[in-house]
Assembly symmetry: C2
Homo-oligomer: 238 residues x 2
DNA sequence: CGTACCCTTGACCGTACTCAAACAGGGTGG
DNA sequence: CCACCCTGTTTGAGTACGGTCAAGGGTACG
């Protein structure tokens, strides 16, 4: 099940057989976590990072008054909190949106891996920089785009990212309630509902209890004025 | 003038004399750029990264309809586009907000530096992860905070970051017009103006043509419900 | 079969946007 | 030195997008 992770890496940069073996050697057996489980708590000391093998997860930040922002959504193949390798404690939570299969890779193993294989170090550095690029795109969305545009953009992004690891067939389980979508998009659950209905009325997508079906990807992209360059689908060699 | 950069690194992690010398050896002489100069264009191939020695810069993303989002502000000591070391092309611009002094460090030198000094590699990885943490905090602001809260939070952040490199004395030149502030905060220039007036009327700050004077830092922090944990001012050893 | 959570829709409200106009200040050229 | 301009700031009046409050309905699960 580490295949999704290798697929994500290889989609952007070549990975040699030796490098693949080195990676496989440090990934312990998978474990399962239930939907809505918090896997990493804010501020807790981390000695390992979470490789998401299957399912959907998210990072989220809480505010004192109960407001919360989901800052990123993760799909299979993502090293969900590899930034914890250097930060050691995170200022946000990591939570499972669906039932997930994951593997906890010890930081000490990562350190040895990248000292032995510096190019893999750059690849994982790249992957955190890619995450940051998505954060910047979400800033753009939250700051400048309207509710429909924001929602359409989010779904386009997830669809493409699932495609990279071979899991997009026009239909996927996002695992998010409309309230959670609202927390990602900086709007209320009520308005998410109305916005979803707009997209449904335009026959662009169907949404039912976390199950997303994309009916017209091009239409969705047009609504969002979606430009996938921020996903670095064709990066320069590293 | 590389002192601000070393101060930023050393504020969070120890840097040995050898490491310092290794860094100094790859930083070429400084050059000056004028206010509002675009230093890195979107999509252009990068062979070097920009070390900001003095002044203020920002990263910004443009939308087709002319809307734009400033995704990050940089202060002296920041390696403004070190993420370009792995991404090679950026999906955003980098622009000088004030007159700036900077140095362009070739990627090939960085690669050799971190292969020779793997711990410095982790320190620079940390610094991009810190940038990403600020992006997440801005997502939180843009998604969940009101206009006043957002503005207050931004100014608290800059003040603290200037303090880290020894440049905060309650007064600093942000170099941003109210329109640029608006592009950072996801609001209009008109509303930035009204919001600034609110904070001025409460005697929390003064703002005059890019010059910020913080009159009551604690008051500002209270308005923003500011929590500096996302700035990783006391990180665990690396 | 009850209960809890989520979704859905309606009516009303408020924060922030839009449009518009006046003003201030710094820089340039006549 | 002054006229002019350009950019940025300030304020007002009206508007709209999205929030708030509220109530009814669906669906899964114990």
């Amino acid at each position: 099940m580490i295949e999704a992770h290798l697929a994500k890496l290889r989609f952007r940069h070549p990975v040699s057989d030796e490098e693949e073996q080195a990676i496989r050697a440090i990934v312990p057996p998978a474990r399962h976590v239930a939907r809505n489980t918090t896997v990493v708590h804010e501020g807790e000391r981390l000695e390992a990072s979470t490789l998401l093998l299957d399912g959907m997860m998210c990072r989220l930040k809480d505010l004192a008054d109960g407001k919360r922002q989901i800052t990123q959504i993760h799909v299979a193949g993502d090293f969900v909190d590899i930034h914890g390798f250097t930060l050691k404690r995170l200022e946000h939570e990591v939570m499972a949106l669906t039932e997930c299969k994951l593997s906890l890779v010890p930081h000490e193993e990562i350190r040895q891996l990248i000292e032995r294989w510096p190019r893999l170090g750059r690849l994982y550095w790249f992957s955190t920089n890619l995450d940051a690029s998505m954060n910047r795109e979400w800033e753009l969305s939250l700051g400048q785009r309207s509710a429909v545009e924001r929602l359409a953009a989010l779904l386009c992004e997830i669809h493409i990212r699932l495609g990279v690891v071979g899991k997009a067939d026009g239909r996927f389980n996002l695992g998010m309630s409309q309230a959670q979508l609202a927390d990602s998009l900086g709007m209320t659950a009520v308005h998410v509902n109305r916005t979803l209905r707009m997209l449904r009325d335009q026959r662009l997508l169907a949404y039912r209890r976390g199950e997303v079906e994309i009916l017209d990807l091009e239409g969705l992209k047009a609504v969002a004025e979606f430009d996938d360059r921020y996903l670095y689908l064709n990066p320069d060699p590293l």
